[in-house]
């Protein structure tokens, strides 16, 4: 068991090293996120100013900003552009080599990228979280909610990865990585609450979005993080919802992969 984990952690370490190799790129990434956040800040400030009230859809300006800042940095952690990687591996035929490795392909791709996930978490999300916490003092409580958040965050990573993996698998059937990836990216960032908090959605749209797995990626971890002492009912229903989707989507993506790869091996792709 330990040996098995060791094997995977070796992949993590390599990923960390590789991510750090991109010297200036890392600085540019941080700068880019800061610029993006500035734009968000002024935009929502203007929106709140024109609303005429302090609270819009149950959220104050400060809460909205905290939410969006954290969502943006979380996006930088979770989004690993794996659809591209899987798609390109499939098209170039490199996948054949990957299938021969002593790992399950799905695990292999995940652990190979877990290093950059870790780096991103430590170097973008954590500093952002600390700065936001220091600047706003009261908006993010420090307590049991951190545990809930971490749990929901793990679920979020799993769900997001599975979505990527499913979409990547579709590349076995079509050559269009770009088209599929852009659709996925747009749908996920809109329906998960990554760009606009779900609270702002019109009721009818929100009623549908509530049941989709996407909200478990950004909305659930972040709303759990921002609530000091949520009642048990909320916690259980939110985490339960995420967990349900973790299981459902993992099963589905495994099944879909197995069926697809069988078809490819039969056809000699």
């Amino acid at each position: 068991m330990v040996n098995k984990l060791k094997k995977y952690f070796a992949l993590t370490r390599l990923g960390v090293l590789e991510t750090l190799q991109w010297r200036i790129a890392l600085c540019v990434m941080v700068l880019g996120n800061l610029l993006y956040l500035t734009l968000i800040f002024f935009l929502w400030k203007a929106i709140f100013a024109s609303a005429g009230t302090d609270v819009v859809n149950g959220m104050t300006f400060e809460m909205t900003m905290v939410y969006l800042v954290l969502a943006t940095s979380l996006y930088g952690v979770v989004e690993l552009y794996l659809v591209w990687e899987i798609g390109r591996n499939i098209q170039s035929g490199k996948i054949v080599l990957d299938l021969l490795r002593p790992f399950k392909y799905k695990q292999y791709v995940f652990w190979e990228n877990s290093g950059s996930l870790l780096v991103n978490f430590l170097f973008t999300f954590l500093p952002t979280f600390i700065v936001v916490r220091l600047m706003t003092k009261g908006t993010i409580p420090l307590g049991i909610n951190l545990i809930y958040f971490l749990l929901a965050f793990v679920f979020s990573i799993i769900i997001n990865y599975n979505i990527d993996f499913i979409v990547g698998t579709i590349c076995l059937y079509t050559e269009s990585i770009w088209g599929i990836n852009i659709m996925k990216q747009m749908l996920v960032s809109l329906l998960s609450g990554a760009t606009i908090p779900l609270a702002f959605f019109p009721d009818r749209v929100a009623a549908v979005v509530k049941y989709l797995p996407f909200r478990a990626i950004y909305d659930t971890p972040l709303t759990l993080l921002m609530e000091a002492d949520p009642d048990w009912h909320t916690v259980v229903s939110k985490l339960g919802f995420s967990l349900f989707w973790v299981i459902a989507i993992s099963l589905f993506s495994n099944l879909f992969w197995r069926l697809s790869i069988k078809q490819v091996t039969v056809n000699g792709g």
Partner: protein, 276 residues
Amino acid sequence: METINSNAAYRRKGPAFYLKIYLKIVAQDIKSKMSYRTDFFISTIGMITTNIAGFIAFLIMFGKFPSINGWEYYEILFLYGFSLISITPTQCLLDNNWSLRRYVYDGDFVKYCFRPINLWFYYVSEVFDVKGLGQLAFGTGTLVYAWIKLALPVSLILILKTVVALVTASLFMMALQNAAAASCFWIQNSFWLLDISLKMKDYAKYPVTIFNDVFKFIFTFIIPVAFMAYYPSLAILRPDNVPVLTYLSPFLGILAFYGSYKLWMKGAGKYDGSGS
């Protein structure tokens, strides 16, 4: 025999030559895209989905408020449509810039260096992104809708102004993307810069007046986001009060584009062909 050949070599290569070559290459590119029909189909659907999702996000954010920062809803919608149209040339003509960092990283870029034509031209001409035209249609529809709702007059002079404004905004967008792509000649992974340039375009559609003075300055003179929709379209939306920058914007646009081209060529000159 010798002399005839070297005469051909020295024939001047003017705009007509480049236009002819470009049209031929594009025709070939479209022909070859048609041989991947499903890809074309899915990409187009992806493009449409993206635009619809963007539009929904826009409605969610602004639908509830009659005006933002002194800009009424349909004016912001006008800017939205405007920015979609002015991104089209970047999307259609400069799409190959997205692959540049990969070519440079793998050392494959060297294969573009051996032709007796302009290197930048030869590189970007390789890909013409047809699906950008879908965005053009979507943007035009939005612009026309906002135009009607704002009750703007339909006069030749105003349409002409709009065209000039759109060309100006396009030049700025192309300049930004071109410069961002060129960065890969210096830093290994220009993806993030390109990604930022793409995000900037998303924010070009909001009036620059929402920023405080510091950022107004930054987004006007350092990263010219304000020129990608705001300043050019003031000539149409606020004809009574047009700032100097709006009048200057076409010239600045040409300058910015030329600058980005020079940067790209300088980067390519620095390229050592060894890969990184």
